[in-house]
């Protein structure tokens, strides 16, 4: 079989169209470079793919999906095409004794199509963890290095929030926050009483018209995709300006297989499988940006073996695949009788929380290192399948009393989601499975995972805190967790929070890291990795905003190198 190559050599080829790939495409094309972007999935067509404003009864399955398989979980029928826990024909493996789940996306825009839009800056101390508490490693750059790029990204995409001067949660450039919902009002009151910080959240949703996009219309359905592009997604906010430059080529259905190295040790092309024809094709470029998501990027590098780089690309240090981190997650919830008194009213708001709890115990010694923030929500949302499972089990019976109980309890629940920092450990990594390939013939990943005590202590603190807040608000905490078993204190399995990072980390030294502070490989000068793989630590801040800021910074560096003729 003959390998087909596109006749053109692009300035830059980007692999992946999510938060990172989209940002790189915009900055590089606007900076004058020609860019080809490879996306493993299909194009996104909002007017076809989005189910914004659809009622459950307008779908035959009411949102439960075929066979009711989506009664619970992330794959309900309403969500924007985004990704899945299992992709047919593209398996991954967990090593014996390890549980790890991997949510992957195969569509233009990647996981930004329905992410939580939570846009938090890392704090200065988050870049200096080893200096601060002796664990993990410092980043090769500081908050001050990244801050101008946080400014740029926030200014461009639009993030609401409020100035608070909290050391653990730096302020940004914010649009005004929306007013609190009833659920948020009562939690805020309880938190004030307990001296726990509760402030307006910071989400990439427009509370005012911004850069040509309409303001939010408060339907609470960001996860379904927004036809007015009033929230941020790479597909609607990053890719279109790149397209407008005329220097952008989007290649969909393209599953990157290997980066091809020339004799002089530079990358000359990427080999990919064209899914439609199952043919092997190549794109040639002067520089490559790998932004396929942390674990896919590590997989691509590890699968790119050559005589020059027998252990995979950018891997002379051996760190590729190592230092895999997710976020520490433990959830809980309660019943709040005070909410029964609320008259029927529109509770929708934006598609996410209007308030949240940043890490507040940064000024004292705790049972564990680092910190967590808390997301919370509930109340009178649009009813959906699976919402009544717990109530049915608790109330039992049938008839008028069951019906009335459902009405009485509607909108009276609030759930909390703790999201904390995991410290990387040697038991958490991914590697190429020695035997399995996917349907495209590409060797797949095998995951190893084990939480350490610090994470479990953090999960315990989350549970205690949510009980305390619930009770302070006059509620009844309903979550019961065990200190032992496979998920102590309710800690989620690895990967479940979908914040996997760290697998191609940056650092000052080529012996202990794969990339420099500009996301450029120490070993291969025309190779950049810009997604969450670059992270040295995984602060309690959701990674997306930092991924975009680091990508913007790396892209400007690349533009500068191109101007100097160094590509």
């Amino acid at each position: 079989m003959q390998v087909k190559r596109t006749p053109k050599t692009y300035d830059v080829c980007i692999i992946g169209s999510g938060a990172s790939g989209g940002t790189a495409a915009k900055v590089l094309t606007e900076g004058g470079l020609s860019v080809a972007l490879l996306e493993a999935g299909p194009p996104l067509v909002p007017e076809r793919d989005y189910k914004e404003h659809v009622w459950p009864y307008e779908l035959p399955h009411r949102g439960a999906g075929i066979g009711g398989r989506a009664r619970q979980g992330l794959e309900d029928e309403f969500l924007a095409p985004n990704g899945a826990w299992e992709i047919e024909g593209e398996p991954y493996v967990a090593a014996p004794g390890s549980k790890f789940r991997w949510f992957r996306s195969r569509i233009v825009g990647g996981r930004t199509n329905h992410w939580g839009r939570i846009a938090l800056r890392m704090a200065p101390v988050d870049f200096r963890v080893r200096s601060h508490d002796g664990m993990g490693d410092d980043w090769p750059l500081s908050y001050d290095d990244v801050a101008p790029y946080y400014d740029k990204i926030e200014s461009y995409i639009g993030v609401f929030g409020s100035k608070e001067n909290i050391p653990s949660a730096p302020d940004g450039i914010f649009l005004p926050p929306p007013k609190p919902r009833c659920t948020e009002t009562i939690i805020k009151k309880a938190c004030d009483h307990l001296n726990i910080l509760c402030i307006p959240s910071r989400l990439a949703i427009l509370t005012q018209p911004h850069n040509g996009r309409a303001a939010c219309h408060y339907c609470a359905q960001c996860g379904r995709g927004c036809i007015t592009a009033s929230n941020f997604s790479s597909s609607q906010v990053m890719i279109p300006p790149a397209e407008k430059t005329g220097r952008f080529t989007l290649i969909t259905g393209a599953m990157a297989r290997e980066l091809v190295v020339s004799k002089d040790g530079k990358i000359e092309a990427v080999s990919y499988i064209d899914k439609a024809s199952r043919e092997e094709k190549r794109v040639h470029a002067r520089a490559f940006i790998v932004a396929a998501s942390a674990c896919e990027s590590a997989r691509l590098l590890l699968n790119s073996r050559s005589t020059l780089f027998p252990d995979g690309l950018a891997n002379s240090s051996g760190v590729v695949g190592r230092n895999l981190m997710d976020t520490v997650g433990s959830d809980g919830g309660g019943y709040f009788p005070a909410l029964e008194k609320m008259p029927a009213h529109n509770h929708d708001g934006v598609g996410g929380m209007h308030m949240y709890l940043p890490w507040w115990k940064f000024d004292r010694k705790n049972d564990f290192l680092r910190g967590y923030h808390t997301e919370f929500g509930g109340g009178r949302g649009m009813p959906g399948v699976g919402d009544y499972d717990d109530l049915c089990d608790e109330h039992e019976g049938y008839g008028a009393s069951l019906k009335q109980e459902c009405k009485k309890k509607y909108g009276t629940y609030i759930g909390f989601a703790g999201r904390g920092e995991m410290i990387p450990n040697e038991n958490c990594y991914c590697e190429i499975d020695p035997s399995a390939v996917d349907q495209w013939g590409i060797p797949v990943l095998r995951f190893h995972w084990k939480w350490s005590d610090n994470e479990i202590k953090m999960a315990k603190d989350m549970q205690e805190t949510y009980r305390e807040i619930t009770e302070a608000a006059g509620g009844i905490y309903l979550t019961a967790t065990r200190p032992d078993g496979p998920n102590p204190h309710g800690i989620a399995d690895g990967g479940v929070i979908i914040h996997e990072v760290g697998t191609v980390r940056m650092g000052e030294h080529a012996k202990t890291s794969a990339l420099n502070q500009y996301c450029q490989a120490h070993d291969v000068k025309n190779l950049f990795v810009t997604d969450g793989a670059t992270f040295v630590t995984n602060a309690d801040k959701n990674p997306t905003l930092t991924i975009m800021a680091l990508t913007w910074r790396a892209s400007e560096y690349l533009l500068d190198q191109a101007k100097k003729g160094n590509l």
Binding site: P46, E47, R48, H53, V54, W55, P56, Y57, E58, P60, H61, R62, A64, I66, G67, G68, R71, P178, K179, C182, G212, A214, A215, H217, Y218, C219, A220, T228, A229, V237, P240, P241, K244, K341, M342, P343, A344, H345, N346, H347, D348, V350, R380, G381, M382, P383, G384, G386, Y388, D389, C392, E396, G397, Y398, G399, L402, K403, C406, K407, Y410
Partner: protein, 196 residues
Amino acid sequence: MPISRRDILKSLTLTAITGSVLRVIPLEAAEYAHRMVRAERAAAVNQIYAPKFFSAHFYKTLQSLCQTIIPSDDQAKGAMEAGAPEFIDLITSENKEYQVALGGGLMWLDNTCIDRYGSAYLDCTPQQQKEILDLIAYRKNAKQDPSLGQGIEFFGFLRKLTADGFFTSEIGIEYLGYIGNTFVKEFPGCPPVPEA
């Protein structure tokens, strides 16, 4: 030929692209398009449903059970009017586990009624129907009579699916008092809490 919602959405998108770098649809136009989607779907809903999995007898039993679990009252109609049996039949037709749990569960109910009362559930007197349902509607009853275990499991599952079917219907959503899924210029926040 009447203009379809796809045509409208397509034309909206094209206009939007020429006017802006971004694929943005003006709010009012989007709202109009959404209303069309809704009308289209509503029209499709009004057809008579032919069960895909349950036989006529068991579908009637299912309807009766759904309506007993969430009955009609002076505030709102019940689970049957809300389309819960259709919803349950549809997803059961696509799910082998549900077919065993619900198909088998309904047969268990008939068998048990025949053993106890001499006739299938639908042919029992209202008093007999109440008696058997009161037994399988509570987990604690299995402690006294372990032979109820399968019935309790079945009824617990059917109760959840009936609640799903009812509370995701137009009737159920109105009954709960959910207000939203709409376009508002500004979010009003939490209304004042009425004094007790």
